[in-house]
Amino acid sequence: MKLKSDSLKRFLIDSAVPILFIVISVIAIPLSKFTGLYLVREIVTRLTRDTFLVLSLLLPVMAGMGINFGMVLGAMAGQIGLIFVTDWGIRDVLGLVIAMIISTPIAILLGYFSGGVLNRAKGREMITSMMLGLFISGIYQFFLLYLCGSIIPIKNPKLLLSRGYGIRNAINLDTAGAFDKLLRVKIGGVPVSFGTILIIVAICIFTSWFRKTKLGQDMRAVGQDMGVADSAGIKVEKTRIQSIIISTVLACYGQIIYLQNIGTINTYNGADQAALFAAAALLVGGATVSRATIANAIVGTGLFHLMFIVMPMAGKNLTGSAMLGEYFRMFVSYGVVTIALVLHAWKRQKDKEMDRAQFRVDVKTSK
């Protein structure tokens, strides 16, 4: 009986964050005055759009490197691929596939670099990966603003700024919706893109299969205790780099899937927010900095976007100010990441104390 209530308690504690968000949404949905059908349609669209990006965060968490805020490196690689494909005028699924092919080596290279940098910053991977994202974004901007159209040939004048070189701020994609249009079925008035969903399912299967491989096992071991893993002969640094490379490449594909759904690239500001929203979504789903599952990713994406849709409207209807809802939405995005990070750091300290407390009981009883 006690065991049952304990495990229930544990379940509630573990899913405190998702429950909190469900409560917020339940309160906000009636206030927003959106219809159920509209909400379902929006959620389905956003799930297909964002889940892949969120899934790209799973492996570094498993390897003990926390949330890989450096996934924006992958997102940038993906955008570069899409820009080139657009320039060459390749359309539809073929265009997306070629974009993926072009951006994969860039993502691998960036991931390798990122992993190397993070190996030099053990214990503060998250802040370093975040700063690395901002740093590489400077180089990315330099590449697109000054090299493209001047050194790197861009034929399509629609892509270039009026001054003759440099990529425009917003680009319409010829490949827009290419994956989404595959196997699109309307179910009860809700269009469901089975094409994209199949890709997401494939990546879920890949992730859960990967966890069971030797490499996956090594990553878990490294994530739990680098020292022990090292003394057992696992190449710690290499394994960490591999996890970051895979994450970066997946983020690259994720960004391509995301953008083909949106249909336009926001060239210079698009990637920056990708990590924040992906991290927030994952954490809303009940993941922590040291444990994240596929279910966390999917549930989190759904809940986070539900709140994202509902909040500004609810805020507007309640106070008459649209900005208030907008700020609240941003506050919650940052806030949820903050809370998750704080809870994790705090829990780690508490766990340590608990361990010792148990020990103290042992000492006393042995007297």
Partner: protein, 344 residues
């Protein structure tokens, strides 16, 4: 030769490259029709505007809390001070003093809770501080809309409620510090003596603080928490004090910035101060756990120098505006570099 190597090693390659780059910009400037006096004017003014913000990094670094990515907590306190002073319609020295006073009170309260939070997350201070700062900005954005501010110069004209995005301080305390004892050298070069005196005063307070009993204890906590604990020092309390101190300095710094700039920038504006302030102190030679006032001065000159000189010189030279990109690469690159240094 050996000594030169030693110097390069201790000073760090990035700093040397940037210093050389800045010097070459100053030398090249006149050839491209950039007037030296205007450049100097810009560098000095910007130094005065930003130096205290950079100085606010020092207490937290010294106490081992790391780089203060949560500087928005202090900036917001400064904004509160500024808009409250306007609300009371105080002008001139009284206005800015009121702004300081209110900002200090707000910063003390915020800093206390911010410090308490950082004590609970030892080891992860920096990433959490970043997100605390960001969340706090958006939380206060809601407050700026909701709180009942009345002064017509502050609130949005057409609605009469909610603060403006930029609020002019022209009629209140514009250039109150900048123009104090200012010296006009040429038409384009006015030395803002007041801001330098004020910075010197703040630096003196920081310097003196670290020469008191509490200051020494904070240095010990940052340098070796175990040592401090063995000396009977309440480590957590010292960390909170340092966080409060940093937060107060940031609040004062942003008001000094505003009186020179002429506007209070509300809402998302504090976001853009985070990484440049952190980068500047690192550029001056500080590390994640050691910083001095010399680091602040060198860093601010280098960083603001690059910021002012690149647009003017490089744009005139090759007529391409790469300054924004250079700023991003230098400031963020510098932070990444510092984070990957082995902490010693």
């Amino acid at each position: 030769m050996n000594r030169i190597n030693q110097f390069i090693k201790s000073f760090g390659w990035p700093r040397i490259i940037i210093a050389l780059f800045l010097i070459s910009l100053f030398i090249a400037g006149p050839f491209f029709g950039v007037s030296t006096d205007m450049s100097l004017n810009d560098v000095f003014v910007r130094f005065g505007m930003n130096a205290i913000l950079v100085l606010s990094m020092v207490p937290m670094i010294q106490s081992g809390c790391g780089l203060n990515f949560g500087i928005p907590v202090g900036l917001v306190a400064g904004l509160i001070g500024a808009v409250m002073s306007l609300e009371f319609k105080l002008t001139g020295p009284a206005g800015i003093l009121a702004a300081f006073l209110i900002a200090i009170i707000a910063a003390t309260i915020f800093g206390y809770f911010y410090g308490k939070l950082l004590n609970r997350v030892k080891g992860d201070e920096m990433i959490i501080a970043t997100y605390v700062g960001f969340s706090f900005i958006f939380f206060m954005n809601m407050m700026w809309i909701v709180l009942p501010f009345k002064n017509p110069s502050s609130v949005q004209g057409f609605k009469g409620t909610g603060l403006r995005v930029t609020i002019s301080v022209q009629e209140y305390w514009y250039h109150i510090i900048s123009d104090f004892l200012k010296i006009k050298f040429t038409e384009h070069f006015t030395f803002p003596t007041g801001m330098f005196i004020f910075f010197a005063l703040m630096s003196f307070i920081v310097w003196a603080f670290f020469r008191t009993k509490i200051g020494a204890a904070i240095t010990a906590v940052g340098s070796n928490p175990e040592y401090a604990r063995a000396a009977g020092i309440d480590v957590d309390k010292m960390r909170v004090i340092s966080v409060i101190f940093s937060t107060i300095l940031a609040a004062i710094g942003i008001i000094v910035y505003q009186q020179s700039f002429g506007f209070i920038q509300m809402f998302n504006a504090p976001l853009s101060f985070v990484f440049p302030s952190v980068a500047a102190v690192l550029l001056g030679g500080a590390s994640v756990n050691k910083a001095s006032i010399a680091n602040v001065i060198i860093g601010t000159i280098l960083f603001q120098g690059i910021l002012t000189m690149t647009p003017s010189v490089i744009n005139s030279a090759i007529s391409i505006d790469v300054s924004e990109v250079i700023r991003i690469i230098v400031s963020n690159g510098m932070i990444v570099y510092a984070l990957t240094r082995k902490a010693r």
